[in-house]
Point group: C2
Chain length 152, copies 2
Amino acid sequence: MIVKDLSRAECLELVAASHTARLACSLDGQPYVVPITVAFDDSFLYSFSMPGQKVDWMRANPKVCVLIEDHRQRSEWRSVVVYGTFEELPDKIGFKRERDRAWEMLQQRANWWEPGGLKPVPGPMVSASTHLFYRIAIDRMTGRQAVDDQRG
Amino acid sequence: MIVKDLSRAECLELVAASHTARLACSLDGQPYVVPITVAFDDSFLYSFSMPGQKVDWMRANPKVCVLIEDHRQRSEWRSVVVYGTFEELPDKIGFKRERDRAWEMLQQRANWWEPGGLKPVPGPMVSASTHLFYRIAIDRMTGRQAVDDQRG
């Protein structure tokens, strides 16, 4: 088993192919990590969320970290750590193009509203209009790959 | 599809059954998230790491967050968010019992040295003695579960 750094092109390839990720944000020195659904475009990761702690914290501190992983089997994996900046895409004039782009990409994913889009509340399904769309501007990436060195 | 909060007992059940998790730490407002191997015992999550950014940051700011997930299928999942405090288990008198306990539990996992235990460096496998053992004291947990409401 050996571990190698991924090139920027290899990082981008994994990020572009991923539909789910883990997002870490922090406030006052307390980190918080949750699963999210993502879609990559250009130098941004697009996503959405119901209102809640994640959104509150990212509004207060837009520095985030996103972990993207690919496990082919237990002993072979690739992972990319993205350092980025949260950018809200509010339902206002001036953000329509980015919101439409986020919607277009995210709705291509099956069950796109999970896991970020549901809250543990009883009652009927909330409408999509209560969701917040946002994107993460990718500032920097690092990636690693573990491969079985018995394969040559 | 409905989402329910997990009880403390349900959170503990998931945490105890898990071998892998995602650990978030933060320093100066910048979060960082990586995959780790874990073993739960009593009110602690035990793990290990090679020296590096994760360890440096947790030494500087011991507040961490651990995400543990169980995906039975895409539409049914359980996840627990653990808020905890990093505690190093140094190779010194006074920590032998905790280090032995960590070693005992972690070596039961196949490939226990991954993904936290490998660095992308060429050359022979590093010895286990360079690994740092640590544990996370669980301060608080929250959990959620998504279930298919068509099943009744």
